[in-house]
């Protein structure tokens, strides 16, 4: 069953197409999130679904098959309620009377509100946990309170579908969560369609999301399927990664600025690292636009994940195993193509000794920098002196950098 069905919606303001060919359905009792970049047509889509704008092409139909463009304003107001973007001047209106405005589609011109209307208003206040505010003036409420009261006004319309345009904007994190949880509770009684800016909020609180990209529907479905790093980077033009939040076990999206366009003249740098020690270096170098290669890294190594995330070339070895002859050959190849070698001082044992040996050999023929931010080299040695000696050799043949700043400076002077 569908609570609302949009078919092939298109709309333009003048000659500017704002929404193109969007087909979408909302199921009863779900929270459907509408996501997309600024200007991707989210608000226009919501206005079309709400019947405020008439589509140039396509239809929006309700559960019973009625085309909403054929329905009167009053009929519509009894079926769907809309909470627009907050803003504008709010008057010295008592909260209870403000919420009573939601009864407008049910009230006659001159007649007074009945006890039924007062009961509905009371319920709406209770549902939104705003009963204690009812004698306050709307102009005195905080942002979070105002948003809840506005939702209460919408609920007083007894809608089957509740639509909201960015209900969490301008709210602090606690109030954002409160509003999203409220929407989840309300979805037990009605269908909720909401524009959300915060992708993590959408991920956690929306049953399904519709991702808009440049006026069209990019994809629609459960957040886990739609909000992939690839889709996010395509739609929002950022780099995205998805991980599990260790505290809550929930999916956590994080974002960073996209890499500058690859430039043929950019220098290529090989980084030898591991165990998470190279993370900061990899990010810093990538941020400066260097072409990166990294390795040899064991599968499962944090630095490997970072290097792959940054799109660098990697040389991998199976987990918990020594570096073999094959990997060593590929490491030498990588270094031959590189303009510089950065060796991050990591604890060295039998497993990764081969990395350092190779680096020590190459250091003479290629500008090499040993990056050793804190610990003394002896402390990192678990090979009875060979590791420390090799680090010293690399530093001797090349240079040593003790901070990221120093490292970047050395590299840029090459």
């Amino acid at each position: 069953m569908k609570a609302l069905e949009a078919r092939d919606l298109s709309f333009s303001y003048g000659r500017t197409l704002v929404v193109q060919g969007i087909t979408l359905e909302c199921r009863p009792g779900e929270v459907l999130g509408i996501l997309g970049q600024n200007g991707s047509g989210k608000t226009t889509l919501l206005r079309l679904l709400a019947g405020y704008l008439r589509p140039d092409r396509g239809t929006v139909r309700f559960r019973d098959g009625r085309d909403i463009s054929m329905m009167g304003t009053g009929d519509l107001a009894r079926i769907r309620a809309v909470v627009g973007q907050s803003g504008g001047s709010y008057f010295d209106f008592p909260v209870s009377e403000f919420v009573m405005l939601g009864r407008t589609p049910y009230l006659p011109r001159f007649g007074r509100e009945t006890s039924h209307d007062f009961m509905i208003v009371e319920q709406a206040l209770e549902l939104t946990d705003t009963s204690h505010l009812q004698d306050r003036l709307v102009s005195q409420l905080s942002g979070g309170e105002l948003q809840r009261v506005t939702i209460a006004r919408a609920l007083a319309q007894e809608p089957e579908i509740l639509m909201l345009d960015e209900p969490t904007s301008h709210l602090d994190v606690r109030h954002q969560l409160e509003i999203m949880e409220l929407l989840g509770d309300l979805a037990l009684r009605m269908t909720v369609i909401t524009i959300v800016h915060d992708l993590n909020l959408a991920f956690r609180h929306c049953g399904r999301v519709a991702l808009l990209h440049k006026t069209r529907l990019h994809s629609c479905g459960p957040p886990g399927e739609v909000l992939t790093p690839d889709a996010i980077s395509e739609v929002f033009d950022v780099r995205a990664s998805r991980a599990e939040d260790p505290g809550t076990g929930m999916n956590l999206l994080s974002f960073s600025m996209p890499r500058p366009r690859p430039d043929q003249k950019r220098k290529r740098i090989h980084v030898i690292c591991g165990g998470g020690y190279g993370r900061a270096v990899l990010h810093a170098l990538s941020g400066r636009g260097y072409h990166l290669s990294a390795g040899v890294l064991n599968e499962g190594d944090v630095d490997l994940e970072v290097a792959e995330y940054l799109g660098s070339r990697v040389i991998t070895a199976p987990p918990f195993s020594r570096i073999g002859a094959d990997e060593r050959k590929r490491l030498e190849e990588c270094c031959r193509e590189a303009d510089a070698l950065v060796v991050v001082a990591v604890p060295v044992g039998e497993g990764n000794l081969e990395n350092i040996r190779c680096a020590g050999k190459i250091a003479g023929s290629l500008p090499a920098i040993l990056y050793s931010p804190s610990s003394s080299l002896e402390d990192l040695d678990y090979t009875d002196g060979e590791g420390a000696a090799l680090y010293a050799e690399i530093a001797h043949k090349g240079t040593i950098a003790c901070s990221l700043g120093e490292l970047l400076e050395r590299l840029s002077s090459l």
């Binding site: 304003t73 107001a77 627009g84 709010y90 010295d92 209106f93 009377e97 405005l101 407008t104 011109r109």
Partner: protein, 340 residues
């Protein structure tokens, strides 16, 4: 409506004050008629009282003062209620009934009749009919200019109103320049006045005031919803474009009728709703009836003042309302800015 305000009680009290103000207006004037005799003359159709007044006194009270005071109340009430509605429609506290150029159009119409001497030929209704017709014509022009397809955006309505009003008042200025001996008459009309207006004028205005007010009172809820924006009101089930058109038609008719009988009386329509909002809040359930009553009271008192201040000469009432209204408005603004 503020939670503490007892609306029925407030309305009763204001009605009493209005009655008192009107009694005062009827009993005070150039010819010295004792208050008790005034009361007796007014009460005579209803109560058996001793007939101890001259026919001259009776006609002064019943045919000169009473209609004039009633007219003042009706004009004040209609300007105030139209001001309240327009301020909500435009969501702009500076809106008043003359904003859309009705008064300027009406002034041009009245001047035309007065200057060309048509007034003499067309009887007493020549000036008001011309003023009314030109007022409506103006607002039709403004509306057509502001219309975008089937919609009337509020900002474009305001701007077109300013443009057309400027054009109309240039026309009036031109007529003033060439008016010669009729200049005094035109200026007097422009300054606003209800001196010498008899029952015909009350009869002319009354249907518009009653019809308009009943219509506006029926809009309490839509107007409340409209305060929070047109889109929001639409979502609450109000056909906003249709509402705007209906309100514009009603405002034009009521204001046009008021201006045509009284000339241009400024500030009543602007200030009264502000005063009422200060102590009754912005809910139209209180704002509309209270503005109606307060507007009536203010104009009756202003009319009284205009007769007393330079007695035996009369000052045009528009001068009084502007003289008192402008500083009071400035005071309201200052007060609000201090609170903000």
């Amino acid at each position: 409506m503020h939670p503490r305000l007892n609306l029925p009680l407030t309305i009763v009290v204001l009605c009493l004050i209005l009655a008192l103000a009107m009694l005062l207006g009827v009993s005070i004037g150039e010819s010295d008629i004792p208050f008790s005799r005034t009361m007796a003359i007014i009460g005579s159709p209803l109560f058996p009282v001793a007939h101890d007044w001259t026919p001259a006194e009776e006609s002064i009270i019943l045919f000169i003062r009473l209609p004039r005071v009633l007219l003042a109340a009706l004009v004040g009430a209609s300007l105030a209620i139209c001001g309240a509605v327009l301020q909500s429609l435009f969501r702009n506290p500076m809106a008043d009934p003359f904003l859309l150029g009705i008064s300027n159009g009406a002034a041009l119409g009245a001047s035309l009749v007065l200057v060309t001497g048509l007034a003499v030929g067309s009887g007493i209704f020549g000036v008001p009919v011309a003023a009314f017709a030109f007022g409506l014509l103006t607002i039709i022009i403004v509306y057509e200019l502001a219309r975008v397809g089937n919609r009337v955006p509020v900002t474009s309505l305001l701007l077109c109103g300013i443009a057309v009003a400027a054009f109309m008042s240039a026309g009036t200025s031109f007529l003033l320049f060439v008016s010669g001996e009729n200049l005094h008459q035109v200026v007097f009309w422009l300054l606003g006045g209800i001196a010498g207006r008899g029952w015909e004028y009350v009869g002319l205005l009354l249907p518009f005031v009653i019809g308009g007010s009943v219509f506006f009172f029926s809009l309490t809820r839509p107007l409340n919803a409209l305060m929070f924006g047109e889109e929001s009101a639409q979502y609450l089930g109000i056909d906003v474009e249709r509402l705007k058109k209906l309100i514009l038609v009603a405002i034009s008719l009521v204001t046009g009728a008021a201006v045509s009988v009284s000339g241009i009386i400024g500030f009543v329509g602007l200030i009264t709703p502000h005063m009422v909002r200060l102590w009754a809040g912005p809910n139209h359930r209180a704002l509309l009836p209270l503005s109606f009553l307060v507007g009536a009271i203010l104009l009756v008192l202003a009319d009284l003042t205009s007769r007393l201040i330079l007695a035996p000469n009369e000052l045009p009432i528009g001068i009084i309302t502007a003289l008192c209204g402008a500083p009071f408005f400035a005071y309201l603004l200052r007060r609000r800015n201090r609170e903000a």
